[in-house]
Subunit: 415 residues, 2 copies
């Protein structure tokens, strides 16, 4: 067994204390450490003040085994993470050659003269493992000091995340258990609520400890994180595979992807695999569905575009929904949704037409309450329409409708 | 002069240390305190562990004047904020009648039996000022203990924010300066960068202390926060008005609104005031512009919808852009953008047509680099087109193009 290590995360930066930015770094790092089986015992945020940073560092050194510090490594006088840690550790600071070369190269490429304060960013502690910054200038560092491990990372989330994934997590995994391999896998679901999912998996969640099974509700569906520890990569993969298979037995119908895959990625790749093009007729969603699909690289291969028929006249004149349907059934109706899907498919020459019509709110439309939404799908072989009654405000209703559209497409194509 | 008070914010909850949620409460509270002229010296997050919460509270009691605690007031055994503060303060805990009545009423209304642990939520410290929770069950508290002010708030952001706005901020404002009125106003700009804005206002920013002038770059433009202190409401309004007028003299052209107003709200209300309808032809933005406009209540009065002409064929067949334009100039061109704007206006019967065409990236199109974007506006009186070269990734280019569209409309209509 490995000793239970205590970690803490310290963010340095007055902008956080002014509320100008949120400390998303602490959340992300906590997730990563938790997946490695390392417990985080506290987060702290301290301003750009040498004495207060020093005090925070001293306290951390006394109570934690692993201390991760984000921010305060930049070029200005306000950046004083190194100075504060020097007061705590008495370690020498020196210029790192490769980091300085990178900074010089950056300014040369920009064609601008480097101001001298940029040299400050290349300074590292003697004996530190220097972590190259592939997304910015200031390098990170891993410093062992009196049996404690200090990890210094840039405050810019993009730079911090790359450095953590590339260097810090492999280092920590190796450190916490020389004979153990720890690995996580995230299963992503759509169309099943958190409580229902927990109910279906309750036996496994409550009895199984390797891998652990942790469900978590997110905006776009419930994710299930599996974390396994074993003596080899092969064994850990076996264990994850077995548990994943058990979960798929119970709720496989709701699982669409793993790890970072999103439902729009999944739908896009299903469309590609089937060589199908899609077009959307969007009323209450107002372009939100298509904008989300087009956000994925390679969307042009499968998405023609769509018609945002917010106005009834646009449903008629541009899309070609019949006046009869609109007058007899209304725009918020099964019939109108089906016709919108069929017409957008036809007009844009797509294989699949999808439509969204409903009442975003807060006002009701045609006597239908806010949250009433119809979504239809039309293809060569099938025409189907679903009705929903969402309970949210205007924009949560629009977002839920968009997500339901992706869910319907996923369910339709996986058949 | 008032004494400079030190505040700190402590969040209690293991879910924060697991990274399941982000500590957005600390950011929001910091903004609010900063607007009252109170400096926040640290944020801390601690898990649901009695000893560690107690240690964190003890440290806070020694170093700060105002301590705000969020979370740990709920019904379960994990909620131990009260118990930890009792260890620090030795204050008695008692049940608050009105809070208990509210909790009972809640369960009666739901038609469910209250489990006994819900009583825990009604417990308050003897002598505390009880803060009714208008959005949930657990009340908040303001407790004066040994010259320090402790403020306990629920962890649910919605409940915490209402309680803070209704009760805590008025209390703090009164406390920090009995004869002073403090008021903030935010001026919102678009189309001017942060460094240029700071340059234009540098004299004022560096010399003026009442009101203070704080620029802050946000995703949708730079905002300027003015915070004034005076002996009466009238005087504070005068002071804010004078400074706002000075700022408008210098950069008034870029200011579109105040406080919570967004650029899409502003554009919507300008369209309403002018009784104009708009329609959009969106290629690279893929519906993002229209989705953002329709997010605002009342959009149906001014927005007809649009055509998402992502595919070249849709530009031709649905919108009616001429084959000649596309073949001779390309789809990423001034000519195509102008024709898209004119055609969408005509086809949807709108007063204003706006179009977006360009290269979202990462691949180049028609030899044009990623980030090249044309936006055109077409009305009865005017046809104009602008070219941009954005430097971001796929989705930041799409977002910047969308924002530029709103900026162009604002500039066009304010003439």
């Amino acid at each position: 067994m490995t000793k239970q290590l205590k970690a803490e995360i310290i963010a340095v930066g007055t902008e956080l204390l002014l509320g100008q930015i949120s400390n998303t770094n602490a959340q992300w790092l906590s997730q990563q450490l938790s997946m490695c089986g390392i417990n985080v015992y506290s987060h702290a945020v301290v301003g750009d003040n040498l004495k207060r940073v020093e005090e925070t560092f001293l306290q951390a050194h006394h109570r934690s085994d692993i201390i991760i510090v984000t921010g305060g490594l930049g070029p200005t006088e306000d950046d004083m993470t190194r100075e504060a840690f020097q007061l705590v550790s008495n370690l020498k600071i020196q210029e790192d050659g490769p980091s300085m070369e990178k900074i010089n190269a950056y300014f040369e490429k920009q064609g601008t003269v480097m101001t001298q304060n940029n040299r400050r960013q290349a300074r590292v502690f003697e004996g530190a493992e220097v972590l190259a910054n592939t997304r910015g200038m200031a390098p990170g560092m891993i410093v062992k000091h009196q049996d404690k491990v200090w990890i210094f990372l840039p405050g810019v989330p993009r730079e911090m995340k790359h450095m953590t994934t590339d260097k810090v997590l492999p280092y920590l995994k190796k450190m916490i258990s020389k004979e153990m391999t720890i690995k996580s896998k995230v299963l992503k679901s759509i169309g099943i609520g958190e409580s229902r999912l927990e109910y279906e998996l309750s036996d496994m969640i409550h009895t199984q400890t390797n891998p652990t099974i942790a469900p978590l509700a997110q905006d776009d569906g419930v994710v299930i994180r599996l974390t396994a520890k074993e003596s080899s990569e092969d064994k850990v993969n076996d264990l994850l595979g077995q548990t994943e298979a058990q979960i798929r037995d119970k709720i496989g119908d709701y699982l669409y992807g793993t790890n970072d895959e999103t439902i729009e990625h999944k739908v896009l790749s299903m469309l590609k695999a089937r060589n199908k093009r899609i077009a959307a007729a969007e009323s209450l969603t107002g372009g939100m569905f298509t904008a989300k699909l087009i956000a994925v690289e390679g969307a042009s291969q499968v998405c023609s575009g769509g018609v945002i028929c917010y106005d009834t006249k646009v449903k008629q004149d541009v899309l070609g929904v019949s006046t009869n349907t609109i007058q007899s059934k209304g725009t918020v109706s099964e019939a109108c949704a089906l016709e919108m899907a069929a017409k957008v498919r036809e007009r844009l020459g797509a294989d699949i037409g999808i439509s969204f019509t409903g009442v975003a709110g807060p006002e009701s439309i045609e006597g239908q309450p806010s949250g009433t939404v119809y979504i239809a799908i039309c293809t060569d072989e099938e025409r189907k329409v679903e009705k929903y009654s969402f309970q949210g405000d205007r924009n949560s209703n629009r977002k839920r409708a968009t997500l339901k559209g992706f869910e319907l497409l996923f369910n339709y194509m996986k058949q």
